[in-house]
Symmetry: C2
């Protein structure tokens, strides 16, 4: 039976993860879940971000379910570099998967788009690019200061994530992959991405392809989000584009993500895209749907496709039955989803 | 009298620039305009992108009016690096200015936003960051290939563009500057931008400030574009955000830009954000409004504030009087704008 590590984290993270666990227990009774106390609260209490021993324990699990970590008083980068990115890198989670869907029952800020019309997935590279942490500062706090950030891209890293995107597209109805980069300015990395894309494309003759510069893609995600099926892109572009995708599909409140190691050599991590939302934490009003959808991705990754689908469909039912403008109660949503999916 | 260099370029570039010149001539008779043949057409004909002699001649002008350069058959990077970015860098055009406005008479794809509600300007750094061209490739076309791109940021370059943004905010009604970066991941460059921002902020105590990560800003530009007044950010983030800004204000068809050297040591360059649009080129149906608005920015930069305002108001009148869905005729629009602004 699957062994899951649970990092509920801070703020609403703990609230939404509790509901995601209810739903997992309902569809897959017997899953072992071990809780790990990580995040801003622990950092403030102990100064620790991710002790090696905890990292090693996490490595022994089949998957990690994460709520949200952080609060405004932790200096920028500490939890991001020390925890989230460290896990993505240490566990080689090279497929950062972010589905974007305009669910029936919800509405988009876009006037011209109807529920059901947006349904794509962004396959964001998760272990390279500008996230590598390669950079430095010289002459700090002087007029001569220089700060650098380096985007590192390997054929190995680029090709494997592109291949994953094509494989996903092949399992979808429209079978289309859009590569997003900025080949006209980032000519070195852009060329590597383009050549790797062309090479992998030859292995998937039944998949349609297109290329867009990141600026154009950012625009089209607003003006024509319907056009996308699978989007593959680098770490930073993926970070930005998936937030646009969340915005046009009703906000990050519903957006799920998986940081996936498709080889399963290390655990993959599943988390809602939203943060710890200190402003609404502790009130029981956070929407757990993004966490529950992340649990559905987790189940699917672990080979429980049927359970994953039941959770997904429970969410569809839940969202379709909501009255716009009526606030949700976190625990009630979790109860309904668990009952529906069971 | 002002001496302007005109680079009409390719495709609809030549068509919209002709109208922008009509309008400039109408408000400021006696301007000398010298045409330079640069772009994809010249590249195909002669292999030349920007001969040094032409660059030196351009340097002798007060400003450059550019239409659009490029076509799909030129390899990525050739005209971008060799012409557009070369001019931005050689002429130290460190303020890349991109106003975003939802004009009365036009409509946004956003259901919740009404004309007049979006009115901000993005001050994008234009000479540094990932656009520096610092990168390389090793082991090309082997499984061991590595490609890098480096973002270079100097205190000098960052501080001056931030100061420009604050100065602009101070002249606007709302007096607010939003810094956009990714300080939680790009910790070196992010720290430099943050510290420079804080230092400059102290010089402008009457300007309100906020900070957003680029992913959050990309989202808020869709969900709450009304919140922005002046946005200052780095070269690549600015590239992406200004396309979102264009999308939510009705598309790049109306978006103007200036690559400005505020010291006037070298000429600044003004151009519509749209490209050469080969699909509609030669038909006389391209909307010249973005080019005409770029001319308005040009006039303002050269100290002709009254003329700039008249052009701006002519555009407002034109857009307010359009019937949605009725196609425009390039030359007719130019004639109307010239008559109105004269
Ligand atoms: C918190 C941050 C490090 C992270 C990222 O930039 O990847 C977040 O924005 C995300 O998208 O998961
Ligand atoms: C054509 C390209 C080099 C350019 C850029 O990336 O700056 C364009 O996208 C722009 O925004 O002016």
């Amino acid at each position: 039976m699957a062994r899951i590590a649970v990092v509920a984290g801070d703020g609403i993270g703990t609230e939404v993860v509790a509901e995601a666990r209810k739903v997992i227990d309902a569809v897959l009774p017997g899953v072992t879940a071990t809780e790990y106390d990580l995040g801003a609260a622990r950092y403030h209490r102990t100064g620790e971000v991710l002790p090696d021993s905890v990292r090693d324990e996490l490595a022994g699990h089949d998957a990690i379910l994460l709520g949200a970590v952080g609060d405004p008083t932790v200096p920028p980068g500490v939890l991001e570099r020390g925890l989230l990115l460290k896990l993505r890198f240490d566990f080689d989670q090279y497929v950062n998967l972010r589905p974007a869907r305009l669910w029936p029952g919800t509405s988009s800020p876009l006037a011209h788009v109807k529920a059901g019309e947006i349904d794509f997935v962004v396959v964001r590279e998760g272990t390279e690019g500008l996230y590598a942490g390669a950079g430095g500062t010289m002459h700090r706090d002087t007029p001569a200061e220089v700060a650098t950030e380096e985007s590192l891209n390997t054929r190995h890293g680029v090709e494997r994530v592109i291949r994953d995107a094509f494989a996903r597209a092949q399992r979808r109805e429209r079978r289309k992959v859009t590569l997003v980069h900025k080949t006209n300015v980032l000519t070195h990395a852009g060329s590597l991405w383009s050549r790797a894309f062309d090479a992998v494309k030859a292995e998937f003759p039944d998949v349609e392809t297109e290329y867009q510069h990141v600026d154009a893609a950012a625009m089209f995600m607003v003006t024509q989000p319907q056009r996308y099926d699978v989007v593959v892109t680098d770490n930073l572009f993926g970070d930005i584009l998936t937030d646009i995708a969340a915005a046009v599909t009703g906000g990050i409140g519903l957006a799920a993500s998986g940081s996936i190691n498709p080889t399963r050599q290390f655990p993959s991590m599943f988390e809602p895209v939203h943060g710890s939302a200190p402003d609404i934490a502790g009130k029981g009003v956070a929407d757990p749907v993004a966490a529950v959808l992340s649990a559905s991705l987790l189940l699917d990754h672990l080979g429980h496709a049927d359970e994953a689908r039941r959770v997904f469909e429970a969410v569809a039912t839940e969202l379709a039955s909501r009255t716009p403008g009526v606030p949700v109660r976190t625990a009630e949503v979790g109860d309904r989803l668990a009952a529906q999916a069971a």
